[in-house]
């Protein structure tokens, strides 16, 4: 179909612009699904925000300058003309695919809702950098008026999305177009652009001047706005510059921009404006009052704040200087976040990486685990602080690392580790004030409140009930020798609500105190309850010093959150959340990031095309070319761990966990397994994911499989032994879970693969684009050789009919199943790494 619609006629475009829904009739089947779940909530929000605002002008006006710099305004006409000129030169090969797909997304009304509209601020300023492209634009404007404005109209159309923008930015050789798109970036939603941030920055680093100049204003602007974005940029710039030769690297644009960001000169230009605005004073925005009120109630601020504010401001400064005899000035808080905008977070990341480095020097897992716990407990002294996890979806401050929960993950020579992080959700981590520290031991006061009989109380109720709890900073009470929490007093509370499988008997023991009559119990009941309770607790893995993570990962997430919350001094706060993150030190996560982007893109495509394939892209934070963080997949353990711990076949494990065949739980789990298996088989095939041993495939509590570790993709494979020649990993055990070769589920599996491949093929460009841009200037092993992109394209089989594709899928499945190499590879892994 790519060949059929080489060009878009102006009429067509116009039509597209006017009514996206109408256009769907002209394109293929995919467009018959206009309301994909992902785009559901969007249209309602974006028009409403844009309409109400004075700044909702035509897209090009977005670039209009701030006051005082009129010369630098990019003339809309100029830009328009420049775009028109290049129109004919630009091939429309990919445009059709994108346009058609985009048309199903009403999102694109956001052509008029630029990011600032939500903040109610003035349009962004464009700084000096525009000056140069401007000249170019002016030069060209003379001889282009005659051309049709098709491209421009495309750009201005509602269908023009970020994916297309990136594509044009990358493919267009015209500075005018590039400059235009650079400005157009401002009009996309931040989240949408953020997805392509690695591509943008890689282009900035490795492509020519013009592209860089087009991108820079946007990046600078966003850096001014957000600390998080600044750091992300700095890290990515560092990571993607690292492949350059050392001599050029020092003077490269990427390095310079990185330095600029890290120098922290990119302060929010709007800061003073924010200051003047009476509404949200910077240090304490009203929405968070309740949260602060909470902590205010729980501890007397007068006593503690000065210490905390200090350590917050100077996370880097050693502990020892924290204590001053006289109460230091509590006013420190007010001015703290300006001088050290980026420092706390950078120091936080640095200490996490430092821990990883030191762990790597220890020989045994046990020592690593112990050291990890002790290092983290030291880290805890410096928290809470203005630090956060970038992998989270909401703004928050990290308040505590429950250090005893951290585990070292399985790795031969490096020491990746998984930590859980307690955070308090907040309105905005840059402006909300950092939570007050609560000492560890204070859990005792909170626990009894947490466990009050009625767990269904609203946060407000809980807040009020909390404030009535005796204040432990009250001096005369606090030092009283007899400790709080008399066992006898707490007793009834604990028992009436501790957990659902509570023994009837324990309650009896209370009542027995009142009634004088002796109570008799059967010894058999005690014994029975003991075995029942042990049976009722969800299957856990045995503790194994060589595999400390197995137990931690097996524990259901909800259970873990509850447990950690109970043990945390912050657990009572309503905005308390638990996050987890894997810290990788010594590993290059750039490929992981690339894989994440591709997976995410395919997930969106499949969702949009309503193919029920299930995959789980997990977030990646690249910090440098050899460190980063990964968002762990919760409620999942590796198949290796499953097999080693349970000593069962996969099918039997499914029956153990989910029930026997034909139970609803089993069937659901089986369906989940099939859908995820099909999804990941396609991923493995398309991306040529290698090193697929059972340690790299997770199984979650719902039966989904999740592939992790995309260290070997595209052109790279481990040790180039030539193993794993099959398209993907499909062992007979997997087939057994699917119900055997002849089962309906297995056919469903193959059908899913076919649908998934067809859908992916339709949007191939969106996938290719992600990979192709990252290819620029990269030395990553996955881009080894010259044919990486071509081979990737070939795997989409654009030239095959659907029937042919079906045959292809059959062949791949057949081949993979028979593949001796898969088995060989598992055997090889077992021999070398002990992975089952």
């Amino acid at each position: 179909m790519g060949d059929t619609e080489l060009e878009i006629s102006p009429a067509q475009l116009e039509e597209l612009q006017k009514s996206p829904s109408a256009s769907s009739t002209s394109t293929t089947s995919s467009l018959s699904l206009p309301s994909s779940p992902s785009s559901g909530p969007r249209p309602s929000s974006s028009p409403s925000t844009s309409e109400g605002l004075p700044t909702s002008s035509p897209p090009l006006d977005v670039i209009s300058e701030g006051v005082g710099e009129p010369i630098l305004v990019i003339d809309t006409e100029v830009a328009k003309k420049a775009c028109q000129e290049v129109l004919q030169k630009v091939k429309f090969l990919k445009a059709d695919g994108e346009v058609s797909s985009a048309s199903s997304e009403p999102v694109l009304v956001n052509g008029t809702s630029h990011p600032e509209s939500t903040n109610g601020r003035k349009p962004p300023k464009i700084s000096e950098e525009e000056a140069e492209p401007l000249k170019n634009v002016r030069c060209r404007q003379k001889n282009n008026s005659s051309k049709q404005s098709l491209l421009l109209r495309l750009f201005e159309s509602k269908l023009f999305d970020i994916s297309m923008a990136i594509s044009y930015l990358y493919n267009s050789k015209e500075p005018g177009v590039q400059a235009y798109i650079g400005n157009r970036l401002f009009s996309f939603r931040n989240e949408d652009v953020d997805f392509y941030l690695p591509q943008l920055l890689n282009m900035y680093i490795h492509m020519d001047e013009d592209v860089g100049d087009a991108i820079k204003p946007y990046v600078v602007h966003r850096c001014r706005q957000s600390i998080s974005f600044s750091l992300q940029c700095a890290w990515l710039l560092g990571a993607y510059s690292s492949d350059m030769h050392i001599s050029t690297q020092r003077h490269s644009r990427g390095t310079k921009l990185r330095k600029l960001i890290l120098s922290d000169e990119l302060k929010p230009s709007s800061q003073r404006i924010r200051r003047e605005m009476p509404q949200p004073p910077p240090s304490c925005p009203p929405p968070l009052h309740h949260c602060q009120g909470m902590s205010g109630h729980s501890l007397s601020p007068s006593k503690r704040t000065h210490q905390r504010s200090k350590s917050d401001a100077t996370l880097s400064i050693s502990l020892s200087s924290n204590l001053k005899r006289t109460a230091s000035n509590p006013k420190v808080e007010a001015c703290q976040d300006e001088p050290v905008r980026l420092t706390p977070q950078r120091e936080f990341i640095k200490s996490l990486m430092g821990i990883g480095k030191r762990l790597a020097t220890l020989p045994t897992k046990e020592q690593k685990t112990q050291r990890l716990i002790s290092e983290l407990s030291l880290l805890n002294h410096k928290l809470p602080a203005r630090v956060w996890l970038s992998t989270a979806a909401f703004d928050h401050h990290v308040v505590r690392v429950p250090h005893t929960q951290a585990v070292v993950l399985n790795s031969k020579d490096k020491a990746p580790y998984l930590i859980y992080v307690e955070v308090l959700e907040c309105e905005n981590f840059e402006t909300s004030s950092v939570p007050v520290r609560i000492p560890e031991t204070r859990i005792r006061s909170t626990r009894s409140v947490e466990n009050l009989p009625d767990c269904g109380i609203t946060p407000d109720q809980r807040a009020s009930s909390f404030s009535t709890v005796p204040n432990y900073d009250n001096d005369d009470e606090a030092w009283s020798v007899d400790d709080i929490g008399e066992l006898q007093v707490e007793f009834p509370e604990i028992h009436t609500n501790s957990c659902d499988n509570i023994s009837q008997f324990s309650v009896d023991s209370i009542t027995s105190q009142e009634s004088k009559e002796p109570i008799f119990i059967a010894a058999g009941d005690i014994r029975r309850r003991l075995s029942e309770q042990l049976a009722h607790t969800p299957t856990t893995f045995k503790r194994d010093p060589e595999d400390p993570s197995a137990v931690a990962l097996k524990e259901p997430w909800e259970e873990k959150v509850r447990r950690i919350r109970e043990g945390s001094p912050y657990g009572h706060l309503p905005y308390w959340r638990l996050l987890s993150v894997i810290v990788k030190c010594g590993d290059d996560l750039r490929q992981e990031l690339l894989a994440y982007q591709v997976l995410k893109q395919l997930q969106i495509i499949w969702e949009q095309e309503r193919v029920p394939l299930w995959i789980k892209p997990y977030k990646i934070l690249v910090i440098s070319s050899d460190s980063g963080m990964i968002e762990p997949v919760v409620n999942a353990v590796s198949i290796h761990q499953v097999k080693k711990q349970s000593q069962l076949s996969l099918l039997d494990y499914f029956r153990q966990e989910h029930g026997d065949f034909n139970t609803e739980e089993f069937l659901t789990a089986q369906r989940n397994f099939v859908q995820s298996c099909a999804g990941y088989c396609l991923i493995c095939y398309l991306l040529q994911v290698k090193d697929r041993h059972n340690g790299n495939i997770l199984l979650d509590s719902e039966g989904h499989i999740i592939h992790i570790d995309f260290g070997f993709i595209l052109s790279s494979s481990p040790r180039n032994l030539g193993f794993e020649t099959s398209a993907f990993k499909l062992t007979s055990e997997f087939v057994d879970v699917m119900g055997g070769l002849d089962g309906d589920m297995f056919n469903y599996y193959k059908m899913l693969m076919l649908q998934g491949l067809i859908a992916a093929r339709k949007h191939m460009e969106k996938v290719i684009q992600i990979v192709e841009i990252m290819h620029q200037g990269s030395q990553l092993p996955c881009f080894h050789g010259s044919s990486t992109i071509r081979n990737l394209k070939e795997r989409f089989h654009m030239n095959l009919t659907e029937e042919q594709l079906q045959v292809l899928v059959e062949q791949m499945v057949d081949g993979s199943m028979r593949s001796i190499t898969t088995k060989l590879y598992d055997g090889f892994q077992y021999l070398t790494n002990g992975i089952m």
């Binding site: 716990i373 002790s374 030291l378 002294h381 005893t404 008997f505 023991s509 014994r527 042990l534």
Partner: protein
């Protein structure tokens, strides 16, 4: 000035044999002890005095030798000396400050030595004069505070602490030291905290600061409001508490290390191998050689911190690198004056490094682990009074820890596993060091191991009854926590059960001897109730169903002990007498144990009869147990999972008074300002001024 110094030095060296020639400073002292105002003859008298090297012996001796009338005569001059000492503390000239500090020390000591029987008020009057006392002491404390917190010389800080220690320990009973009333009013608590929070000052003065704090907290603890108690209980600054923890940790670890060294030395010799073979009766002798002076002052500090400050509990679990293995010899702590001033002992550097060192051989440890190891050494031998006190204090500390919810939480934390190598008493009937490869387990296992070890090793004629009671209480408290929070420890409970049964057996066989001194029924009741906890609440904290079976097996196997116990308590409770009441409590408590025995024994016998087996194997007994649960009915007993919380007053007050007295004596002996070499000070200050 240097000339006078030289002369003084020369003179001093010869002074030991002959009657000392009079040095200038002595002449000046004589002026003070004359009636006349010394400034009459020499207006610059005080200025000059503090430039002279102090002659502590003379000054102290002179003060001691004064009789009543003379005292009255020279009182004004002594007051004046005191006043000028205090003034000199604010001097810029550091030599003057040093000499003033030492003079003050001599004054405090001399006056007290003279007037052992005198009331505190007389002493204050003699030193400062009643009317001026408050002002003088205020000035003194402020100066000391300033010196301790200032950026001045480390030696000066050290001297300040010595002076304070000297002042605090001049009386045997700290509560009778009336001058401390002024130390209460003019608190130097903040200065102590600052020393502990700062890395470098902690390394040099931490030990003295912690001991000083421990002593100050014990001043009139039970009679009045002691501001140091109040302040210590509300400290919540982690670096400070952590610093305090590290000082304690270091001192305890140092003890452990020294003990280990001695032990290894001894093991080499033929004699020691012989003695260890001869058996437990003679171990005490061999141990004598192993004994390293226990450090009660540090233990007291740990107790006060754990008992008073709930935030300190977190410090217990705070990990540090293990210093045990470090090859560098650590500073012999109580004798710090021996180490050259102003230099940090090498091992302290590591302890103070906030970043943990990179040495992979270092095991991470924490205060609690070190404390458990220390306890295991101290508890080995309780014959000597000091060690008995130390062991008692260790158990009291453990009691406080076991009662603390947060401490319980981390003791039972499944993710905090440690290998704790407890010292086990070498005994004839068991292999030594068989458990080299003990697994890494939650810390509560180590605590239980320690308790079991104690129970097993102290069944002797000099029965340490109160230690046993504490020990069983600690176990009880831990099990209460486990029951409440439904923590299932994979602990070898069987060892505990058999230790407890053996204890009962010991009580029975030594009934008459023990009963003359102790209430053995109280202990027996506690032990039986521990079994009742397992029997009736086992479902809430035992790790596996089979462990419940094993409990029954153990009870059935040792049924004779319970039978005999029942006979004994029944006999005592039917006779009138002081033990009637406690013994009858034990009979009631035994109801379930007896029900079990009476229920299963016939079943087992019939099983044996049916199957024609004379001796049933363990598995067979367990089989019988398993199949016959349902016909057994137990009685639910009240209050099994409740315990009396620890309180220092009134029960332990006497112990602590005595302990503090012994610590005071010990500290007084070891605080020696005279050993502080003037040369070192001079060297240091010559570069400053």
């Amino acid at each position: 000035m240097s000339q006078t110094e030289k002369r003084a030095g020369l003179l001093r060296r010869t002074s030991s044999s002959k009657k000392p020639l009079k040095e200038k400073v002595v002449l000046m002292y004589e002026d003070i002890f004359a009636k006349e105002e010394p400034t009459k003859s020499n207006p610059r008298f005080w200025d000059e005095l503090f430039l002279m090297k102090v002659n502590l012996e003379y000054l102290e001796g002179k003060l001691e030798s004064l009789d009543g009338d003379e005292v009255l005569r020279v009182k004004d001059n002594i007051n004046s000396l005191f006043q000028h000492c205090v003034q000199a503390l604010a001097e810029e000239h550091q030599i003057k400050v040093v000499n003033a500090l030492q003079t003050l020390c001599a004054l405090f000591r001399g006056v007290h030595q003279k007037n052992r029987s005198a009331t505190g008020f007389d002493i204050i009057n003699m030193l400062m004069g009643f009317d001026k006392a408050e002002l003088r002491m205020k000035e003194l404390m402020e100066s000391l505070d300033a010196l301790l917190c200032g950026d001045g010389s480390q030696s000066l800080k050290s001297l300040c602490l010595k002076l304070l220690l000297c002042l605090v320990t001049v009386t045997d009973n700290i509560s009778q030291n009336t001058i401390l009333e002024y130390v209460m009013i003019n608190s130097i608590f903040e200065a102590i905290l600052q020393i502990l929070s700062d890395v470098s000052s902690r390394a040099q003065h931490g030990y003295d600061a912690v001991v000083l704090l421990a002593l100050l907290v014990n001043y009139r603890k039970y009679e009045s409001v002691n501001p140091y108690i109040v302040k210590l209980s509300i400290v919540d600054d982690e670096p400070t508490l952590d610093g305090m923890g590290r000082v304690i940790h270091h001192a305890l670890a140092e003890y452990n290390r020294q003990y280990k060294e001695k032990e290894e030395e001894n093991q080499g010799g033929f004699f020691s191998t012989l003695t260890s073979m001869v058996g437990s009766m003679f171990i005490a002798d061999a141990d004598e050689k192993l004994s390293v002076q226990t450090n009660e002052a540090i233990l007291l500090a740990l107790y006060e911190a754990v008992h008073l400050n709930r935030n300190f509990i977190t410090v217990l679990a705070q990990s540090h690198p293990e210093i045990d293995i470090a090859t560098t010899p650590a500073v012999p702590v109580p004798a710090s004056p021996l180490t050259p001033l102003g230099t940090t002992p090498p091992s302290l550097d590591m302890m103070n490094n906030p970043e943990l060192p990179l040495d992979p051989n270092l095991q991470t440890s924490n205060l609690l682990i070190t404390f458990l190891k220390y306890s295991s050494i101290v508890m080995q031998d309780t014959k000597d009074e000091h060690r008995l006190n130390s062991a008692r204090l260790c158990l009291i500390i453990l009691t406080c820890i076991a009662e603390d919810q947060y401490a319980d939480a981390f003791l039972h934390d499944d993710n905090m596993n440690f290998r704790v190598n407890l010292h086990r008493m070498p005994m004839r009937h068991r292999k030594k060091a068989a458990d080299k490869s003990n697994p890494s387990r939650p810390l509560v296992c180590a605590v239980l191991d320690l308790m079991v070890e104690f129970i097993v090793t102290h069944m002797m004629k000099e029965f340490p009854m109160d230690l046993y009671v504490r020990c069983v209480q600690i176990i009880h408290k831990l099990i209460c926590y486990q029951k409440k929070c439904r923590v299932r420890m994979h602990y070898t409970w069987r060892e505990l059960w058999s230790a407890l049964i053996n204890l009962l057996k010991f009580l029975l066989s030594n009934e008459t001897i023990l009963l003359s001194k102790h209430n053995i029924f109280q202990l027996a009741l506690q032990v039986v109730n521990l079994f009742n906890m397992f029997i009736t609440y086992g479902d809430t904290f035992l790790p596996t169903p089979s462990s419940y079976d094993e409990l029954y097996y153990e009870i059935i196997r040792m049924h004779q002990v319970f039978d005999n116990l029942y006979c004994m308590v029944l006999r005592v409770s039917t006779n009138a007498g002081q033990w009637k009441e406690p013994a009858s409590k034990v009979t009631h408590a035994l109801v379930n144990v007896r029900a079990i025995i009476n229920h299963f024994n016939p079943k087992i016998e019939s099983y044996a009869a049916v199957n024609h087996i004379s001796q049933l194997s363990e598995d067979q007994v367990l089989e019988v147990v398993r199949t016959n649960y349902d016909t057994l009915t137990l009685k639910l007993q009240d209050g099994l999972d409740q315990f009396e919380r620890y309180s220092e007053q009134p029960r332990e007050a006497g112990f602590f008074k005595e302990l503090v007295r012994s610590i005071s004596l010990n500290v007084r002996k070891n605080v020696s300002l005279s050993t502080m070499s003037q040369d070192v000070l001079l060297k240091e200050f010559s570069s400053i001024s």
